[in-house]
Symmetry: C2
Subunit: 264 residues, 2 copies
């Protein structure tokens, strides 16, 4: 029988992770939860992010998922242990797979991580990368999410902002990371732009693909002879907006969205 | 006895309104509520904004305020009537005072309004200005809030973004507004920058001063011989962050901040 996988994010960004999961395991059924009434998590505190993430995780657990992917860097960085304690199913976050991927690509053993303010403040990526023997430079890029949501993924302003942020990392000749890890699920949408801005010898990696690989490893290899699975989405704010923005992130139509309230 | 006035906003922006209120009525006691766990409201739906705004208004009412100022354009635009129905005290929003100020300044009887996506979609400013006999051009400027929160209030990127947004309004020779109304409490912080970008004959106005005037009118003239009143702040997310960012908006130290939870 096809597995039933829950994917949780503060909004739409986690759909970039879901896209990779669907490629790796098309036969699975997916339940995607976007906590759009409380987004963005990126500038909020540990206490607040943990509260929302746990409520969302319990909602998905109550819908019968057998594994939960926390496809939100901020929620993973701030609250993965709390989420794991709050549910009885296995939980996979995006920080460790992302760090492992960066480590596998870095010859210099030095990585740069860009993420939201909250993810950077948590130093979750630093800890994960240092455990793998890498030196780390972290940089918060709080304008990238609103620029992506404005639809300016190929825009001179975004390129200008990217130059300012990237100069902070790579303009300093003293450190020489050779890998740039995208520590926020919105950032893959500006990957082509970042490719132009970042020095050519720097490899750009994100967590989506390596997270999908980890999920496949955890669930064991499935028969891929079956029919493609179902996708059901839950949002805590406007389902219309979820559909409109979500389809950009997922790259295909979303038909099945339900409005839910996790506060009552 | 000094009045006890409640001021509500999704975050810090409403402190620009509080600043005007303190200038107009320094002897009043102020209770400021920043719903920072749910900010920003600007891209959320009517249902969600109304729910948070009502919970916040009831919290302030329970603390004994005699008048509530909704110092958040989005909450006023989307949910002023719902807030009024939910509490027993008088409620003043920022949209009407802002529209009245714009109308008093416009000779051409044409105003442009810039605001968040949700405020623009509600057309609350259009309705208020049209009632006063003005033609209206509305424009959502979703990047201004994150740019202000990044601290880039005098920055080439913000100026570039402002040119792009303002060209959409004033680049079209067919319409000639002579007033620009700042329909978001974050925008007064980039008013000097907007002054450079917007054609010189355009008058820039915001709601803060006219809202303060309306509050004074409603409460009647107070003795100003008394001592300055107290300020007490409530936030639904990190009080440290509230203090740090809030002091920029208020322009003076904030000592008295309490973390509250309006969801339980």
């Amino acid at each position: 029988m096809a597995p039933r996988i829950g994917v949780f994010d503060s909004g739409f960004g986690g759909l970039t992770v879901l896209r990779e999961l669907k490629t790796s395991m098309p036969e699975a059924d997916y339940l995607y939860f976007g906590d759009t009434a409380h987004l963005p998590y990126g500038a909020k505190s540990v206490r607040t992010v943990a509260k929302y993430a746990i409520a969302s995780a319990r909602f998905l657990e109550s819908r019968g998922i057998e594994l939960l992917v926390v496809a939100c860097n901020t929620a993973t960085a701030l609250a993965l242990d709390e989420i794991k304690s709050a549910v009885r199913i296995p939980v996979i976050g995006v920080v460790e797979p992302g760090a492992e991927r960066a480590a596998s690509k870095s010859k210099a053993r030095r990585a740069a991580v860009i993420a939201t303010e909250a993810t950077v403040s948590s130093h979750a990526y630093s800890r994960a990368l240092e455990k793998l023997g890498l030196e780390v430079t972290e940089k918060a890029c709080p304008l990238f999410v609103p620029l992506v949501e404005e639809g300016w993924v190929e825009h001179p302003v975004t390129e200008n902002v990217a130059h300012i942020y990237m100069d902070d990392i790579f303009g300093n000749g003293a450190t020489h990371p050779d890998v740039l890890l995208l520590g926020c699920t919105h950032y893959p949408l500006i990957r082509p732009l970042l490719r132009r801005v970042v020095p050519q010898h720097i490899e750009i990696v994100d967590s989506a693909e390596s997270t999908a690989t980890k999920v496949v490893g955890q669930l064991g290899s499935q028969s891929d002879a079956g029919l493609p699975g179902q996708l059901r989405c839950y949002a805590t704010d406007s389902t219309d907006k979820f559909r409109r923005l979500g389809e950009k992130f997922l790259g295909c139509p979303i038909n099945n969205i339900e409005l839910v309230d996790i506060e009552s």
